[in-house]
């Protein structure tokens, strides 16, 4: 008899935090902020509030059916057929996000680590390790995830404290000189990055019973926003308008930081970045497969993991060979619409069906 694997709420928060914090900054360059770089700080704050608003449907769905995640709730509410359709949709959603992350990583690898390597080499090794992690299960991913999150936070504290003397607070003024355009684009970009609410929705069935989903979500949102805000603040004040065109500004920050003899700390940033990517990729592949397992494909778990790994690898090769397309997708409004479907519309639809069903049942009970 296999016991069900449980992770604690703290581990879930750490897992999702890792996914949010790293990659958002690499699409900033597509916004082309130039002199209005400081407007992006406002968009971080706006996204914080927006996250809470947008999460309401999912959170109320989770509250109605505690211990069931979105897919299981969907199956309960609307039957197996629609539930399977939902499961496939969400699975594709996660696979797409995984492909985006892997593509970003391969571009990072080519740009900063070793330029002459073929993309499929780095991608293949990455996928192998991620598949291994996905096979091991959510408990292993969560435990490793909390360690990686702690490593990231320590690196972050180290780099920030080295750079404090270089902060130029004047860079933060004036705000919104060129109008709200940059700020809105920043909001769209940050919104596209905050899909972890969906991940939380699917992970809910693995979280130790008794934890309120709202508190978990709030903890994640606050933690990510605070750290991302400080990171953006550092990027804006230390690198100024030049950092607005840098594709990997966090790495730029790390290469400016100096500690006595070590004139550049971007090796620490590379370690934290690659570990984060491995973890997030593993999590998304696991979630994509977990969605499908819930509709009854339990026996084919390893095959499904292998297949999704192959899809992610091929997709990432396409993206990495054409990185500007990836950048433009991430800051476009159409992608936000698609995200909204997954985050807001589908749970809303489920809620409506549930309410209607409940009312019909009530009426039936009254009449009977």
């Amino acid at each position: 008899m296999e016991k069900k694997s449980y992770i604690s709420a703290y581990q879930a928060v750490m897992l999702l935090f890792v996914g949010r914090i790293m990659f958002s900054s690499s699409y900033q360059a597509a916004i082309q902020a130039e002199n209005s770089f400081q407007d992006l700080l406002i968009s971080v704050v706006i996204t914080f509030i927006l996250n809470f608003i947008v999460a309401i449907p999912i959170l109320s769905l989770l509250k109605r059916y505690p211990q069931n995640d979105i897919i299981e709730g969907g199956i309960n509410i609307s039957g197996r057929g629609f539930g399977s359709f939902l499961a496939i949709l969400y699975s594709l959603f996660f696979i797409f996000n995984a492909t985006v992350i892997a593509g970003n990583f391969e571009n990072f690898f080519t740009a900063t680590i070793v330029p002459e390597v073929k993309a499929y080499f780095s991608g293949l090794l990455l996928i192998i390790v991620c598949l291994y992690g996905a096979v091991k299960g959510i408990e292993s991913i969560a435990r490793f995830g909390s360690v990686v999150a702690v490593i990231y936070i320590l690196t972050f504290i180290l780099i920030v404290s080295c750079l404090i003397q270089r902060i130029d607070w004047n860079e933060l003024r004036p705000l919104l000189y060129n109008g709200p355009g940059i700020m809105l684009r920043g909001v769209i970009m940050n919104y596209n990055m905050s899909i972890q609410i969906v991940a939380l929705g699917i992970l809910m069935s693995n979280i130790v019973p008794g934890k309120s989903p709202f508190k978990t979500f709030a903890a994640w949102n606050i933690l990510s926003t605070v750290i991302f805000f400080i990171l953006e603040l550092m990027i804006i004040t230390v690198t100024g308008a030049y950092g607005a065109s840098d594709i990997y500004p966090v790495r730029l920050l790390a290469s400016i930081a100096q500690i006595s003899v070590f004139e550049r700390l971007d090796i620490l940033d590379m370690i934290a970045w690659v570990l984060n990517i491995i973890l997030t990729l593993t999590l998304y592949i696991y979630l994509a497969v977990a969605c499908l397992l819930k509709i009854g494909l339990n026996k084919h778990r390893r095959l499904l993991i292998f297949v999704s790994g192959v899809i992610v690898l091929l997709g990432s090769l396409y993206f990495s060979s054409d990185f500007p397309i990836l950048q433009s997708i991430m800051v476009s409004g159409y992608y936000s619409l698609i995200n909204t479907i997954f985050i807001v519309i589908i749970p809303l639809v489920l809620l409506i069906i549930d309410t209607v069903k409940g009312k019909v049942l009530q009426n039936a009970n009254k009449n009977a």
Binding site: S8, I113, K136, S140, V147, M270, V274, I278
Partner: protein
Amino acid sequence: MVISVAVSAKSILKYFASKFSEIGTVKKSSPEAGSATEYTQLKRSLLDNMTYLQGEFDGCADFVSKELTTCNRKAIIISIDNMVDKLTLTQSVLTPLSKAEPPMGLMTDDDIFNWFRDSLLSSADEKEVFSFEEVESHIMSGYAVFLMDGVNRGLAFGLQGFKYRSIDEPNQETALRGSREGFVEPLRINMMLVRRRIKNPNLKFEIYKVGNESKTEICLTYINGVVEEEILNEVRHRIKTINIDTVFASGYIQKNFQDCPYSIFSTVGTTERPDTFCGRINEGRIGIIVDNTPLALTMPFLFIDNFQNIDDYAVGPYYATFTRILKYLAFFTSILVPGLYVAIGSFHQAYIPSQLLYTLAQAEEATPFPLVFEALLMQIVYEMVREAGLRLPKQIGFAINIVGALIIGESAVSAGLIGAPMVIIVAITATTTLIIPTLYESGVVLRFVFIILAGMAGMYGIILGIAFLGFHLTSIKSYEVPYTAPISPFNARAMRDVVVRAPWTILSKRKIAAQDMPGSNVDKTQS
């Protein structure tokens, strides 16, 4: 001194005999778990018994028997040569028997035998045996068995006098402030060492026999009330399923108790010290002492247990915390530093600070081999020197160490084969691996893997290796307790003994047993 021991044994026996005379006979020994359930009753005729036994032990030159006549009946004492203390045997058994005058009223053979058993023969460790299998196992464990004509029972006297290694300081796990006793080979002496330290009737010993041919005894040790029933039943189940011919070292059966036998890290701990053993049992673990092995097994065993030492609890909290942090640093240094050096020196020279870059470049300039080859070569040479030093007698061992360390390293650098930084790295690695002896095997394998990964893919390879190792470590469980608890899943209270060693005021509050670790899936019946 032996005479006084015998005299005291006799008086103790008399005391107990008078106390428990109404309770009656010494209990019948039950067929032991794990052994074959054959049971061939002894016969009443001494001749038949002896014929059977001598047939079984035909060709065994160490099977000795002494015939004697007591109370006008034929009797025989059989034992294995050099297993029994002959002087005590003579004094407590043979002499009384030869002078025995049965009291009036005892006529039958059985009565006289009972009189022998209860009143005459004085041995503190005396058992009644009923079957041939019991007789054989007892005399091969050092008992002397007394058989009388006309009686289908025998008496086994525990007068073991075989020579065993004296209780000495364990040479693998030395401690500055702990006791200097280590486990020895005989099982019963080891049990005595444990019992002396935990004077609590809740400390239970259960004896099993494993090994189809060797029939080695193992002792399952636990403290009732702290240990979890689920884990205990699991261990008992695994003992029963051991199917192996011979057990000459505890390592033979170690893999039966591991949940992941193919992992690099072992989820079963070993120890040579009774105080470490008792410390672990006190935390709800289960110990197995194997006869003829000084290494005892403990389970469940977590990653953090590798870094805990009896010394940490005997010194003050500040120094203990310092040494704990040092040990963690040492382990990760020993695994990662050669790989990091190879990765950064071969692929990412941009990250090296300038002054160091010149030194490295000059060192590299002079050497013909690439860095990864140098690293592998030096590590292999070091392992060879270490293996050679292990197997040789002490005098030659010293010479090999000096040859290896000084001469090979120095001349390699002077001849221009290896760069000086590489020799320093090997020295650092050598020192740090020896700080955690239990992780030595895993450390060596991991180090080589990281060097090869670094040589193939640089820093990226090392990070991938770390991720792989991380996923692997966090997925191992030792009896449903996660291997990396309480580091991850994290529990601040349980961390009081991991990287820091909190003062005793905190450590003596609320015991945290192995099954209380965060993330463990054990069904608890007692909190």
